[in-house]
């Protein structure tokens, strides 16, 4: 769901046209459109780099973790998941809303990783490292849009 769908649903529940505040919210969202698109493009183009560099930083702080256990399959699956989270953040930046991250990647996430025996605290650190690398690649305007979704991701772990 996007911010547009969210304010429409809100207005619909109250059976009214959009309020002044809601219209301002949408106007702000549209004003940032170009920045949203360039941020999403940079995340897409640099996914591999963010994951590779993020993993290095992560393993430096947390060497004893499944992705660094010497099992190439574990490493590639963990890094694949990390790439997916970067993709979900890019969806959120374009939607102006955290629902894509929540619905696709956070709902049920804990149960899944517990069952996979991947330690959540390690993942939290890994996600923080992804954020650091990604923020370094984005302009300050782009980082201001994407940062909160990375923060939400870190918090969720």
């Amino acid at each position: 769901m996007s911010i547009v769908a969210k304010v429409i649903a809100q207005s619909d529940r109250a059976e009214r046209f959009l309020s002044g505040a809601e219209l301002t919210q949408l106007q702000d969202f549209f004003n940032g459109g170009t920045t949203r698109i360039s941020a999403a493009q940079k995340l897409a183009a640099n996914q591999q780099k963010i994951v590779d560099e993020g993993s290095k930083r992560f393993w430096a702080q947390c060497p004893n973790t499944p992705s660094n256990s010497g099992d190439p399959q574990k490493t590639s699956l963990c890094q694949r998941d990390q790439g997916w989270y970067i993709r979900l953040v890019s969806y959120c930046v374009l939607a102006g809303n955290s629902k894509p991250l929540e619905d696709i990647g956070l709902d049920g996430m804990r149960d899944m990783y517990v069952s996979l025996r991947v330690p959540l605290p390690n993942l939290k650190l890994a996600m923080r490292c992804l954020k650091e690398v990604a923020m370094g690649l984005l302009s300050s305007e782009e980082a201001a849009l994407a940062g909160p979704y990375f923060d939400q991701l870190v918090r969720a772990f």
Binding site: L18, L26, I37
Partner: protein, 161 residues
């Protein structure tokens, strides 16, 4: 409900891909028309009652429909007609903001034809009223935004016919 943004994100996620090329172009265009959409929604929302009055005056008034035996008689049915026209305007405005007609299908058109036929609401007159609403809305919001509203008001017409 779906909006133009989710309509490109959902299929991309099914494939596990980022939005690229044509999908990003679609969003770029949508973002660029954002100001036009917000301004139109503001104008429509702040003058909805007057848009409805003008619409009714243009299409329904002073005909058989408001006389005894007509479908806008007695006052209770007149008010119901105003209420429905206001729904059409409000949901068409939502759809215009979202640049996606799905909310009209879900919240207005689904089952409407059957409801109207069981209540004896004349579809032809309803369509006339929506056509008049298009003209009134365009007068208020200007040609460019009016064209955009026409897409969704026409969607209602098609759903009724």
């Amino acid at each position: 409900m779906q909006d133009t943004i989710t309509s490109v994100i959902n299929p991309a996620d099914e494939k596990g891909t980022y939005l690229e090329g044509g999908e990003l172009d679609k969003l770029k265009q949508y973002f660029q028309t954002g100001t036009l959409r917000v301004k139109a929604a503001e104008q429509i929302g702040s003058s909805a009652a007057s848009i409805i009055s003008d619409t009714v005056a243009k299409s329904l008034l002073y005909g058989d429909i408001t006389l005894p035996g007509g479908n806008m008689y007695p006052t209770r049915r007149y008010a119901a007609c105003l209420r429905d026209l206001t729904y059409f305007l409000r949901y068409a405005t939502y759809a215009m903001l979202a640049a996606d007609a799905s909310i009209l299908d879900e919240r207005v058109l689904n089952g409407l034809k059957d409801t109207y036929s069981s209540l004896g609401v004349p579809v032809e007159r309803t369509v006339q009223a929506v056509q008049a609403m298009k003209e009134v809305v365009t007068q208020r919001v200007g040609a460019e935004a009016g064209q955009e509203m026409d897409v969704y008001l026409d969607h209602i017409v098609n759903g009724l016919s």
